[in-house]
């Protein structure tokens, strides 16, 4: 626990920004959900036949897991893509159901004699809505808003996967570093925020349902409104993005976070331009999409991954041929491949060092012989990719006792070390290989294509800021596989902060040019 507190103290400013981003996401999305949901619900009560399909649709939306929802929205123009806008769209969709449902319930459960009295007194439908139905449904509506906001605080943590910021960043960062301190550093404030939102809105709800104090109702509404306004303005001021910042992205595992920091700090130092970090994006295709839409300007890709997973081309073995081909493919879609950083992060088929010694395993071919009695665990991407498991199994005639388990890439190292699985596909540069006493088997049939780490940038950004291109070209060939593994080890095994690791690496590099 004291480690968490120390983390907060040392990351004070970052924490404040993330909390502000989180509040902003929830406040804006809930406000928009109210603005859409309440009129929608009122409409549904006027057309009772529409009410149940409407609630049905909202129900279905609610059951889509939030990560999948972000995925669905990636290719949608305007609201989709990555970043806060897409996150807001998802959070609004999630907020709609409780608000629509509670508003419909609030209006339809009004005593019919009260509505009859209103109609018989000569109220127009609008007057009835304004003077009778909405005031009487208000406590129920606020109850729905409360549910929406609390769900929103939770869902917003997942929004970090598409670079929307918020406390989920710590959670994802902690997950990819397998560092529970960092996870808690994000999870605890998120939980506190959820409780605070719940308690605050419950207080307002109670105020509103004690019908006797008309004045206190008004106070409660005023308090609620001004809190939302203050939250939005305050958080917006905090998270305001400078318009010509360079946005650096990264995928969601340790090496990528460090590389993202290396790119960001290099650009900051060499060009003086403001840099925004949108690290921890949930996967290759999300990064690629973000680069296409301009949500990020640059991130580090691996040539073999680009060739097979992004461009769906057959893998080839020659490293410079792959790089040249990928450069052409990127250039055709307005993106520029910068010079490779200097190391090849191929997939590493890993086993426990003890097993390798006991059975004399050196190559994947050796392992294929004992694999039928083994269990394997692979990351989501590896199972699906054309250069992943299906091809590997074919190339080596691999089969396991049971179908390979799907698990988070970073967690799979721990799963292997603790004996839950017997073989995994990790990264060649993973720090945990050393940290957890694992052994990499040789790809003696040369199944895997080369995976040279290389920054990819939007051509338009490089044209506009030639100094960014110069700065990134300065990284050409500067990172060796050993250095990368060392940095990964520092993060994964010694729990150092990626930003600090990157800073130390860049400083050392300047001393020995």
């Amino acid at each position: 626990m004291s480690a968490v507190v120390r983390f907060w103290v040392t990351h004070e400013r970052e924490l404040a920004t993330l909390v502000a981003e989180h509040i902003l996401l929830v406040a804006i999305s809930t406000t928009v959900a109210v603005a859409i949901g309440v009129p929608l619900a009122v409409f549904a009560t006027r057309r009772p036949r529409l009410a149940s399909p409407l609630v049905g649709i909202a129900n279905i939306v609610q059951t889509v897991p939030s990560l999948a929802m972000f995925g669905f929205l990636l290719p949608v123009p305007f609201i989709g893509g990555v970043g806060a806008r897409a996150a807001l769209a998802v959070l609004v969709l999630y907020g709609l159901l409780p608000i629509v449902r509670s508003t419909i319930v609030g209006i339809t459960t009004i005593d019919p004699s009260i509505r009859l009295a209103g109609v018989a007194m000569g109220m127009t439908p609008r007057e009835l809505l304004r003077h009778i139905e909405l005031p009487l449904a208000l406590p129920s509506i606020v109850a729905g808003v409360r549910v929406a906001a609390v769900v929103g605080v939770g869902s917003a943590t997942i929004a970090a996967a598409i670079g929307a910021g918020g406390l989920g960043q710590y959670i994802y960062r902690g997950l990819s570093m397998v560092d529970s301190t960092v996870i808690l550093a994000g999870a605890i404030p998120a939980a506190v925020l959820a409780l605070a939102v719940d308690g605050g809105l419950l207080w307002i709800e109670r105020r509103l349902s004690t019908r006797r104090q008309a004045r206190s109702r008004r106070t409660a509404i005023a308090v609620a409104t001004s809190l939302v306004v203050v939250a939005i303005i305050g958080s917006a001021a905090f998270t305001m993005r400078s318009p010509n910042a360079i946005v650096v992205g990264s995928k969601n595992f340790t090496e990528q976070l460090i590389l993202g920091e290396i790119l960001a700090q290099t650009i900051e130092r060499e060009t003086g331009l403001p840099v925004q970090r949108r690290l921890n994006l949930g996967g290759t295709l999300i990064c690629d999409r973000a680069l296409m839409t301009g949500d990020i300007d640059v991130y580090v890709e691996y040539t073999g991954t680009a060739l097979t997973a992004i461009f769906h081309q057959p893998a080839t073995k020659d490293s410079s041929a792959v790089t040249a081909k990928v450069r052409d493919l990127y250039a055709a879609s307005g993106r520029t491949l910068l010079p490779p950083l200097g190391y090849d992060n191929t997939f590493a088929i890993l086993v426990r060092a003890a097993d390798a010694r006991a059975r004399g395993l050196r190559t994947i071919e050796d392992a294929a012989k004992v694999a039928p009695s083994w269990r394997a665990g692979f990351g989501y991407e590896f199972l699906e990719r054309p250069d992943g498991y299906p091809g590997l199994a074919q190339a080596y005639g691999l089969s396991f006792r049971s179908p390979p388990q799907v698990m988070d890439l970073t967690l799979s190292y721990r799963a292997l070390a603790s004996g839950q699985v017997d073989l995994i596909a990790g990264d060649a540069t993973a720090g945990l290989i050393k940290g957890l006493d694992l052994v990499r088997l040789e790809d003696n049939r040369h199944y895997f294509p080369p995976y040279d780490a290389v920054p990819v940038a939007r051509a338009a950004t490089l044209l506009r800021y030639p100094r960014v291109r110069l700065a990134l070209e300065g990284l050409s060939g500067r990172i060796s596989a050993a250095q990368m593994q060392e940095m990964n080890y520092a993060a994964d095994a010694q729990h150092e902060n990626p930003a600090d690791i990157a800073r130390r690496f860049l400083a050392a590099r300047r001393e020995t040019p």
């Binding site: 004699s113 009260i114 009859l116 009295a117 018989a120 000569g122 109220m123």
Partner: protein
């Protein structure tokens, strides 16, 4: 006769085809109280709803102040017709004063005029303004709520007042008291009143004229004193059932 409400050969059917009213004709003048009596399902409430155009007749016509309800703007019509509904239907989120002030405010009366009217009406129905104006409906007894309902219906001084079982759910003592109050109030305000009740003695006590309904038809109408002379067996049975006033609390038939 001062124009009030007139129904001419009115029939009303439900969408399902069931006929609620059969060829019903009756007129009520200004300052006059018509008491409609009959058992549940006789069509009494339907008559009221036809008058303020919550319903529109399938045949015949309903005229309010010499104008067919179908020619009225329904909102204007309803603001000219006070309606005390059976369940009272006070707005639970509004104070007594605000409940009474609803229609005047919809009519955009000035604040002073609304306040003066609310005071006048609460005094009229026997709820001193200072003690009751700021209370909420759930802080009132059943009888007090009925009084607020009457005050609310009278608020914009409508020429016509409809009352649906206004004293139905009250204990006999409160009920008798409110009946007397009603006569006092009606003597002062002189509206065209249609009052619906299932209680014959109430109808006889409050109506200047009484209409007896059964199965959607008006089977008898006239002055209260004349009802005993009716030769219709159903009317006589009804009157006799009401005679020993002491056993007024006959178990109610529910349909």
């Amino acid at each position: 006769m001062v124009p009030g409400v007139e129904l001419r050969h009115v029939s009303y059917r439900l969408a399902s085809g069931a006929t609620i009213l059969h060829d019903l004709s009756i007129a009520v003048g200004g300052g006059e109280t018509l008491a409609l009596v009959g058992s549940s399902g006789a069509g009494k409430t339907t008559v009221l709803k036809l008058v303020n155009r919550l319903l529109v007749p399938d045949a015949g016509e309903v005229c309010v102040q010499d104008r067919d309800t179908r020619e009225w703007d329904p909102i204007r019509l309803r603001r000219s017709v006070g309606y005390v509904i059976q369940e009272v239907g006070l707005f639970p989120h509004l104070s007594v004063a605000d409940n009474v002030a609803v229609v005047p405010r919809l009519e955009q009366w000035s604040g002073d005029r609304v306040a003066a009217r609310v005071r006048e009406l609460l005094d009229l129905v026997g709820l001193p303004h200072d003690a009751y104006a700021t209370r909420f409906p759930d802080e009132l007894s059943g009888g007090q709520r009925q009084r607020v309902g009457v005050a609310r219906a009278l608020a914009a001084d409508p020429p016509v007042l409809l009352m649906d079982e206004p004293f139905g759910a009250l204990d006999p003592i409160t009920r008798r008291q409110l009946q007397q109050e009603f006569r006092r109030i009606q003597a002062r305000v002189a509206k065209c009143v249609i009052l619906v009740t299932h209680d014959v003695s109430e109808a006889l006590a409050l109506g200047d004229r009484v209409g007896v309904m059964e199965g959607g038809r008006l089977i008898w109408h006239g002055e209260p004193a004349a009802i005993a002379d009716s030769d219709d067996a159903r009317v006589r049975a009804l009157v006799e059932s009401a005679l020993p006033v002491a056993r007024a609390e006959t178990p109610r038939r529910s349909v």
